[in-house]
């Protein structure tokens, strides 16, 4: 094990602190001036005022969804990077999100989102994610072994194929459907349904606990599969389960919030720089940091050029990417 910069207790504290700071920042910024001091009195005064409904119905749901989606995406990133021992893997490079986008585009073009307005799009996104994850794993899981390189290559190819089909659908669809697909692809944490938000929260936290059970197996896998087998890890079972968890996390996040890139790639790397390579710490800390990061980016997206709202993926890409390059260059200079 490499020497870590921070003791694990401090690491977790740091990420919890970051998450809280991001949430409070998000809660107190927006186009209507509600300062941090006003938040608690406003919420205590109860419903009826516009300030209350802005806090309770607009900002809090967004924070909760940002928490769930940001956490899920970076958790999926950590799991996949640990499994494949490849720093460039994330839900998006495996084509899972491409599949989800394809599912949603098909749903819109077939007009199904008009029949069941609330559930059709997330459901189809989810089905799409799985329609991609399953063949990827089936093609590559033969005779009980998972071939990592094959998995990656298939994933990248499938992701190209689905994005081409989405473009094809965009080219032949009617104007009013176009914008539905584009909205969804741009990604947003705006979600009117409390039910969906609580489902996503529930699933993401469940997956966090489930993946924690496999944290020692992930640590062993980091040494290489042969070594992991010698250490007594049931490698195939662990890999199948982990891949399933990562697919569920991605499928759910993408189907609710659309395509938000970079979170799953950047956050795990940052956390590793700080807290080292022990997955018992990495999993929890990535979840918390990813959650905080997405909440922070979403707040920027809401407020930078108010009243116009930017797609949150723009901010995650620019901010995450530049921070990442900066951190890497500092690292190499040392």
């Amino acid at each position: 094990m490499k020497k870590t910069i921070l003791n694990w207790r401090y690491s977790i504290l740091l990420s919890v602190g970051f998450l809280l700071a991001a949430s409070l920042y998000s809660l107190s910024s927006g186009s209507s001036d509600i300062t941090l001091k006003d938040v608690i009195p406003t919420l205590l005064r109860g419903s009826g005022t516009p300030e209350f409904s802005i806090l309770f119905d607009i900002r809090i749901p967004r924070i909760l969804l940002g928490f769930a989606v940001g956490g899920s995406l970076s958790l999926a990133g950590v799991i996949l990077q640990g499994m494949f021992r490849n720093p460039l893997v994330e839900p998006y490079t495996l084509g899972i999100s491409g599949g989800a986008a394809l599912g949603v585009a098909l749903c819109i073009i077939l007009g199904l989102h008009r029949i069941f307005p609330d559930l059709a799009m997330p459901l189809f996104g989810f089905i799409g994610a799985f329609a991609v994850a399953l063949p990827i794993s089936l093609i590559n899981i033969r005779k009980g072994t998972v071939k990592t390189e094959g998995l990656l290559l298939t994933g990248v190819m499938i992701s190209y194929i689905s994005s081409s089909i989405v473009t094809l659908i965009l080219a032949i669809s009617r104007t009013e459907d176009l914008q539905g697909i584009i909205f969804w692809i741009m990604g947003s944490l705006e979600e009117p349904s409390w039910l969906l938000i609580s489902i996503v929260l529930f699933i993401s936290l469940t997956c966090l606990v489930l993946s924690y059970i496999f944290s020692l197996d992930l640590n062993a896998l980091a040494l290489g599969e042969e070594e992991a087998v010698h250490l007594g890890v049931n490698v195939e079972r662990a890999k199948k389960m982990l891949f399933l968890i990562a697919s569920v996390l991605t499928g759910v996040s993408v189907s609710i919030a659309g395509i938000i890139g970079f979170v799953g790639l950047v956050v795990p790397h940052f956390v590793r720089m700080l807290a080292g390579y022990d997955h018992r710490v990495l999993l929890v800390m990535s979840f918390l940091t990813g959650a905080g990061f997405l909440i922070f980016c979403d707040t920027l997206a809401r407020t930078i050029i108010s009243p116009v709202e930017l797609p949150v993926g723009v901010i995650t890409g620019i901010l995450g990417g530049s921070l990442f390059v900066y951190a890497l260059s500092r690292r190499f200079l040392k």
Binding site: F202, L205, I213
Partner: protein
Amino acid sequence: MKKHVITTLFIVVFAYAGIFILTNSYAGEPTAKPTPYQRIISLSPAITEALYLLGVEDRIIGVTTYCQKPPDAAKKEKIGTILEINTEKVISLKPDLVIGTGLTNSKDTKKLKNLGINVVTFDISKDFDWLCHIFIELGKLVGKEEQARTMIAESKKRIVKTQKKVEGLSRKKVFVQLGSKPLFAVTRDYFINDLIEFAGGVNIFKDAQSGLVSREEVVRRNPDIVIITTMGITGEKEQKTWQQYRTINAVKNKNIYLVDSDRMCSPTPVSFVELLEDIVKILHPEAFEG
């Protein structure tokens, strides 16, 4: 392993129960408001313009960044773009009516409805009749139905007058271009199709399933007239591009025109008629000579 799973389930069920109780403790109830509405937010330039026509501009408390016509509309409070509205801003303005279009993000409108704000959305105008229907509905909402009907009757009279002018003249083949990269044509799904037909022309892409067409097809169908909606600089560039295709009648006879895209894309019954008169002048200059 088993113990792990059981504790996991426990934690999860408890957390979920907590979330569930939290989320169901509050629900916004829609409130019934007496019409006509006094605090209106418009989410589309066409609707803003229509409200001005109906003379209720003093009741508009918020518009999109695209609402620039009439000039006075640009001074109103901005609540976002046509596609993405800032729900926070909308709520803080305390509107009693929000009027959107099919282009408004449905997640945003759903959210406002959940909070008990009246949201009315109109689909995009596919033809002149639908345009009039929307105008009358707007009139009903603001208590100016009579006025709306009178204005539409006026417009229809002017349309009939214009159509009489072009009766019996040769029907020219028209190509209206909405976009350049990719090339985008007007199909029968756009009210512009009505514009061309009322003006005594034939839309060469009336039968197309989608507006994505190839230049080759435009050359093959050989329009007598090409109308390009200005998209900033691209309109003029397109005008030059078409010059290379000398077999097209419109190029031979120098019949390539630019029309302001704002006028083409956010119509009210009144601006429709004004636009129609301009297009008739393009199609049948002979009808106005002498």
